[in-house]
């Protein structure tokens, strides 16, 4: 209780409780920025294609023209994939940090990345030459397995699934699965293949996976927005949320379900890129305050912008080679994050 009072005093002092005006500006500006980034990203790449051709390729598609094919079959799905992945990771990170009240929580901690990496190690070691679509499927299964283990163990205990237990179980399962895949990788000498996947990249995104993924992602983000008020209350502490008449069990259940859907589909497309889910919620909280009704939509937009830009940079730094997107996200995100922790540094 005293912690809460302290925290709210601090909030008042810094005038950070909630900032609807700034949030609206960020939301609108962010959407415009996202559209702009998508436009730039679609028109830039290894092959030189002028803007007019890009426009007609998107809106008057002619499958006999090669530039149109490049835009429609390679760049567009990849850029849209990047935006979806960014939004998913950022929203699942926000929910996790809000629900667990741990500023270090990010989707990577739920065992999703480690599970996917473990499954991939098995794929590369025992079934080399699997087609890309199957690899993605296996990655998703692995992610679900990792998360299933975390949630299973977390809820076995008396008193059920507390956020703290979830995070600890996540750390342990992650360590276990990472160790197993490291062992497989070292023994079968497939380190570098695995490392490349771990470094992440959206180059493999095709219309098929986007078609499968996008309805779920959109539904989950809408669900998160519906849930956002309750998450704000939960972020003030369990007792306070219960005192204010919240059914915390239900909220946590739905929240974790949303996190699973979002992070699982993101990981299966992009690989083990965790930093988005950690850094975007912090940036958003710093900008718009503590109200998750604003944090969730804003972080979705900002996450999309970050990953689209990082993907653009990944293609442009050293064309036609691709730089691992995880590295670029870190390069863009780390300085920002360091500035924030120095400047604001609100715990939650």
């Amino acid at each position: 209780m005293s912690e809460y009072v302290e925290q709210s005093l601090e909030v008042k002092k810094k005038g950070l409780a909630s900032r609807p005006v700034i949030a609206t500006i960020i939301l609108i500006g962010g959407i415009i920025g996202l559209l702009l980034a998508i436009g730039i990203s679609v028109s830039m790449g290894a092959a030189e294609i002028d803007v007019r051709t890009v426009w007609s390729a998107v809106f008057q598609y002619d499958s006999t023209l090669v530039p149109h094919q490049i835009i429609q079959e390679t760049r567009l799905p990849r850029v849209i994939g990047a935006a979806l992945v960014g939004a998913s990771l950022a929203v699942s990170g926000s929910i996790m940090q809000g629900m667990t009240r741990n500023p270090l929580a990010d989707p990577g901690l739920l065992g999703l990345n480690a599970g996917a990496a473990f499954m991939l190690a098995i794929c590369f070691a025992f079934f080399p030459g699997l087609s890309y679509l199957y690899i993605i499927l296996f990655a998703f299964v692995g992610a679900a397995l990792g998360a299933g283990l975390v949630f299973g163990v977390g809820s076995l205990a008396k008193g059920g699934l507390t956020p703290m237990r979830l995070v600890l179980a996540g750390a342990a399962v992650t360590a276990l699965l990472v160790a197993l895949s490291e062992g497989i990788a070292i023994y079968y000498r497939i380190n570098q293949d695995l490392a490349f996947w771990n470094a992440g990249g959206v180059s493999g995104a095709k219309w098929e996976n986007i078609k499968i993924m996008s309805p779920w992602v959109i539904l989950a983000i809408l669900g998160a927005i519906v849930l956002s008020k309750s998450i704000t209350l939960l972020s003030l502490g369990e007792e306070i949320a219960v005192g204010l008449g919240q059914k915390t069990g239900m909220i946590k259940l739905f929240g974790t379900l949303i996190i699973l859907i979002l992070a699982g589909s993101a990981v299966s497309v992009i690989g083990a890129v965790g930093f988005v889910g950690l850094v975007i919620p912090h940036i958003t909280r710093f900008l718009v305050g503590y109200d998750y009704r604003w944090i969730i939509p804003c972080s979705a937009v900002l996450g999309g912008v970050l990953v689209v830009l990082a993907d653009l940079a990944a293609r442009m730094v050293n064309p036609p080679q691709e730089t691992p997107i995880g590295a670029l996200i870190a390069v863009i995100g780390v300085p920002f994050f360091l500035y924030l922790t120095r400047k604001g540094g609100q715990p939650l």
């Binding site: 008396k158 276990l176 160790a179 197993l180 062992g183 570098q192 930093f275 691992p324 996200i329 120095r342």
Partner: protein
């Protein structure tokens, strides 16, 4: 008044039980020590072992035991203790149960130093390998200092949350750099780096023991002395200040101690971070939350875990080896999960 003697005997019994728990762990370490001396590519029966120990072994037995196995066993114990204590202090100071030496950038800093070295001097001949621990230690120290400086604010000092967030960010940046560097390595060098990062005690000799021992001899007693301060810090900043603890100073020294412990351990063992995370948790489950008990218990548990892990790693796929860091996670994580599932709220 009548109840008082009863309470004190009750407490005494509880203390006794905790002391017994620690003694039992120490006994397990002793047993593992003996088993570990037997295990390896060249088998030594208990009788041969005894002969060798009292100086009656053959040349080959002497070499195996005194030059290869004993230093390795001693290193496992020391590194296990060092990492576990570093984790214990970090969790105590920050109040965050997820804190481990990795969070202060120690693993990633040391790893980057190693990867950089391998990138520029690609031959893994004998001479550079001897320099790796020193380089790793420097890398760990530089990173930890950087994180500390970046999270320091004039007038406010260091807040644990800011420290950890900065640490995570710096670690992410470093691992990004590492990814870019490692993708350019040749497969053989990559294999070497991968084994190093997974954490392995393969290269140990008495020199490493000597380089590690002074740190532990100075810092372990220091941390023991500070057990009371750690208890008070756990009560929260306001309470701790009220009880007359100079939080800023104590935090700085305790963090520095943790960095030195973890840095020197990681420099000889590679990236075994998991021990620092779980040993303190296991210790708290076994002996409760008081640091007077948690500190010795987690040191003992860390030593036991790493010793067992290294022994298994040596024995499992002879004559090849599994890096100890991997075995630690494979044994430690399920046990940790079991305790977590059993725990009450």
């Amino acid at each position: 008044m009548i109840n008082k003697p009863y309470i004190s005997t009750y407490q005494k019994n509880r203390h006794k039980r905790k002391v017994y728990t620690i003694l039992i762990i120490l006994f397990f370490i002793f047993v593992s020590f003996i088993i570990s001396m037997n295990t390896g590519y060249i088998r030594l029966s208990p009788l041969q072992l005894l002969e060798t120990l009292i100086g009656m072994g053959t040349e080959q037995q002497n070499l195996t035991l005194f030059e290869f196995r004993l230093p390795r066993i001693v290193i496992s114990i020391l590194v296990g203790m060092g990492l576990a204590l570093a984790g214990c202090v970090l969790q105590g100071v920050s109040g965050n149960p997820l804190a481990d030496p990795g969070i202060l950038g120690i693993n990633s800093g040391a790893g980057l130093a190693v990867v950089l070295f391998i990138s520029f001097f690609p031959s893994t001949s004998d001479v550079p390998v001897m320099f790796l621990p020193l380089l790793a230690f420097i890398g760990a120290g530089v990173t930890a200092t950087l994180i500390y400086v970046l999270s320091y604010k004039r007038g406010e000092g260091i807040s644990p949350t800011r420290l950890m967030l900065t640490g995570v960010a710096i670690a992410a940046g470093i691992s990004a750099a590492m990814i870019i560097l490692t993708l350019r390595l040749t497969p053989e060098n990559y294999q070497f780096v991968a084994v190093w990062l997974a954490g392995s005690i393969w290269g140990s000799n008495w020199m490493f023991v000597l380089s590690l021992l002074p740190w532990l001899l100075i810092l372990i007693p220091y941390i023991f002395v500070k057990a009371r301060v750690l208890n008070i810090l756990n009560l929260g900043e306001v309470t701790a200040t009220g009880l007359g603890v100079n939080i800023e100073k104590e935090r700085l020294f305790l963090l520095a101690a943790a960095v030195a412990l973890a840095g020197s351990s990681v420099s000889v063992s590679g990236g075994i971070g998991f021990i620092g995370l779980i040993a303190p948790h296991l210790a708290r489950q076994l002996v409760g939350g008081k640091h007077q008990f948690v500190i010795p218990a987690s040191a003992a548990l860390g030593a036991l875990l790493l010793l067992i892990a290294d022994t298994i790693g040596r024995w499992f796929i002879q004559p090849s080896e599994i890096p100890a860091g991997i075995v630690v996670a494979v044994i430690g994580a399920p046990y940790f999960l079991y305790l977590l599932a059993k725990s009450k709220a």
